[in-house]
């Protein structure tokens, strides 16, 4: 007998009597102001939130924020003049030298400051992790209150997606918080007013 059948057989023999799924598994969070909550959570995790009116303002802000930084990457066509790093690589290892990546993300979650990014706008999954610094652009109206609302938007996921909440961190040395473990050392969220 294969291990698979052995395991499943033993489970069948040993599992408890059937119970139903709980009726309620989603809850509402009514924050006074969703965006304020989102900002509050992000500032607690060392992330700056910047509202930009349009793509021109985004480009100008990006230039201002990251002057002097070479090796820029972006997934946003309107920033192609700003980023001199091409994402046209076949091997993700080549992204090793990226210093700043500005990436389109889909929405943010107010209760924890997480941003959902996925294969939909990302040609290389490793980009948000391998870059030294990271910025996301999300539509200002694309904020949900909590994780239950988030999963209502994500009935299913694509091949891969990730909630990212702030820069990479660790507290493995005597519980002292250090920003920048393996992933991005800094994070900025641009809220884009109108597409």
């Amino acid at each position: 007998m294969s291990s698979r059948d052995k395991i499943l057989g033993q489970i069948r023999q040993n599992k408890p009597e059937e119970v139903a799924l709980p009726a309620v598994t989603t809850f509402a969070s009514d924050f006074e102001n969703t965006e304020d909550k989102f900002r509050e959570m992000l500032s607690a995790i060392y992330t700056e939130v910047i509202v930009v009116k349009n793509l021109e303002e985004l480009a100008a802000k990006a230039e201002e924020l990251y002057t002097g930084i070479a090796n820029r990457a972006t997934t946003i066509p309107a920033l192609s003049g700003w980023a001199d790093f091409s994402l046209n690589v076949s091997d993700p290892h080549e992204l090793e030298t990226v210093e700043i990546a500005i990436v389109q993300a889909e929405f943010g979650v107010a209760e924890n400051g997480a941003v959902w990014v996925s294969d939909q706008y990302l040609p290389h999954r490793v980009l948000p992790f391998i870059t030294q610094n990271l910025a996301f652009v999300i539509p200002r109206n694309a904020l949900v209150n909590n994780m239950h609302e988030a999963y209502m938007r994500l009935q299913d996921t694509l091949g891969w997606g990730c909630f990212i909440a702030g820069p990479s961190k660790t507290a493995d040395i005597e519980q002292s918080l250090v920003i920048g473990a393996h992933g991005a050392r800094s994070m900025v969220i641009f809220l884009l007013e109108n597409e």
Binding site: K15, T25, H148, G159, I164
Partner: protein, 458 residues
């Protein structure tokens, strides 16, 4: 790991020799527990979330076979290869086989308590494979040649100086350096080199979704993603209890997990894997290793609901003052003490006794496992099956005789108080195990019962 295994009580005695260090360990973990409290209080629906999580997991236990089959089918449709391992040895062979097939002899790994449980690193090492742990805490204990002492905070038992010395020796940092920022930076550079050069990455699984065939891996450092997205082959290993029915249920569990673990509202990265990226191979290994047996133990099956947040350890007064290594099991603390005897009753008979049964663990558990009740029940089972050391057995037997005879209980209490007052040395001595590490309290002049009887009369 060739050291002879000490029983929990003896190992904690060794741990307790350095009192300031033990106090520090205790306070550090209590601090984490307090962060959990603060964070949970911010959600008015916290208790309902715990109920929901426990209920979903109960559904899972009663539908495990169907959920696993559905998961397997979906995962295969997504282009993921699924393997089943009945025990640790099979799990290790599967991983080795995959690496050999690809002629890979070096692998990066992100945190997985399951591979600890299976002693995979040692096994692969013996077979010529180098495994680098990439979570900072795990890398630290790996360099020290010891297992993690906590499931969420693997190096929580070490001080800055220990890590400074270790990195000086292995990573060439300055002698005497203890700045966490500096030390972390050194580890970042060292591990980045590994991420960029390894063709295989292994990760654990926090949640696997039956409905979609996808799975979620949570980290703060981003090491799981760094490894998996750069490697040609991604192997994800999961105990079969990690399955949940639907994607929407992740909402419940991700809200509970990090808040219970460290007080964060969510971990920095919650990565949802479903399909391999182009040109990559993705494998899932579904492991039993005693879980189906535990499923059949009515009193203990709830332990399979565990989402490995570590909250029960951070709150446990025994864990905090004895350290994870004293449990001689991959998973330490209260939940580890329930899981371990299932794997080996003889070897782990001491662990259910490493508890005061104060119930704090059950109070913080996000999936409402009746942890302290199960520990109590294990004691009975182990005693019945003859696995309990004689000294404890006598104590238990004396205790039940006394508790079963109220008259005798009253009399012996009165006797005890008299003895403690008149001859404290008879109690405060090394023969009384309760006296270790503490002074016995001043005995009250009368018992609560005597006081109550006297006052009721007035």
């Amino acid at each position: 790991m060739s050291k002879t295994v000490m029983e929990h009580a003896d190992a904690s005695e060794v741990f307790n020799r350095d009192e300031p260090y033990v106090n520090w360990h205790d306070e550090t973990l209590w601090f984490v527990r307090q962060k959990r409290d603060k964070s949970s209080k911010q959600l008015p629906e916290w208790e309902q979330l715990r109920d929901a999580a426990s209920g979903i997991k109960h559904y899972v236990l009663s539908h495990l076979d169907e959920l696993l089959i559905s998961f397997e089918q979906k995962a295969k449709e997504n282009g993921v290869q699924v393997h089943w391992a009945a025990n640790a040895a099979e799990h290790n062979e599967i991983v080795l086989g995959l690496l050999k097939k690809h002629k890979i002899d070096k692998m990066v790994k992100s945190k997985s308590m399951l591979t600890e449980e299976c002693h995979m690193n040692e096994f692969l090492q013996k077979n010529g494979i180098e495994v680098i742990d990439t979570d900072l805490g795990e890398r630290i204990v790996q360099l020290r040649n010891e297992p993690p002492s906590h499931i969420v905070l693997p190096a929580i038992h070490l001080k800055k100086k220990d890590i400074g010395d270790l990195f000086h020796e292995h990573l060439g940092t300055d002698a005497g350096a203890t700045d966490p920022q500096y030390l972390t930076e050194a580890a970042r550079q060292h591990l980045r080199d590994k991420f960029l050069t390894r063709r295989a990455a292994l990760t654990g699984v926090n949640f696997a979704v039956a409905e979609t065939g996808g799975f979620v891996v949570s980290t703060n450092e981003g090491n799981a993603d760094m490894g998996a997205h750069l490697a040609d082959i991604h192997i994800a290993c999961m105990g079969f209890e990690k399955i949940i029915p639907k994607q929407e249920h992740l909402g419940v569990f991700l809200r509970l997990l990090a808040r219970s673990a460290t007080g964060q509202p969510i971990t920095t990265y919650s990565s949802h894997f479903k399909k391999p990226r182009e040109g990559q191979e993705m494998h899932i290994v579904i492991v039993d290793n005693g879980r189906s047996t535990q499923l059949g133990r009515k009193d203990f099956r709830n332990s399979l609901k565990c989402i490995r947040c570590g909250a029960c350890m951070n709150t446990c007064p025994v864990y905090r003052r004895s350290g994870g290594h004293s449990y001689h099991n991959a998973v330490a603390g209260p939940i580890g003490s329930i899981l371990a005897p299932n794997l080996d009753m003889t070897k782990n008979a001491d662990l259910p006794f490493a508890s005061t049964l104060c119930g704090s663990c059950s109070n913080v558990c996000p999936v409402k496992i009746d942890i302290h009740d199960q520990l109590y029940k294990w004691r009975q089972v182990l005693a019945k099956e003859g696995h309990v050391p004689k000294s404890k057995e006598i104590g238990i037997r004396a205790m039940s005789t006394m508790l079963a005879a109220p008259r005798f209980y009253q009399w012996s209490g009165r006797m005890g108080r008299t003895v403690m007052r008149a001859m404290p040395f008879m109690v405060n001595n090394a023969l009384n195990p309760w006296y270790k590490q503490r002074d016995m309290p001043e005995p009250p002049k009368e018992s609560f019962r005597d006081w109550y009887v006297r006052n009721r009369k007035n």
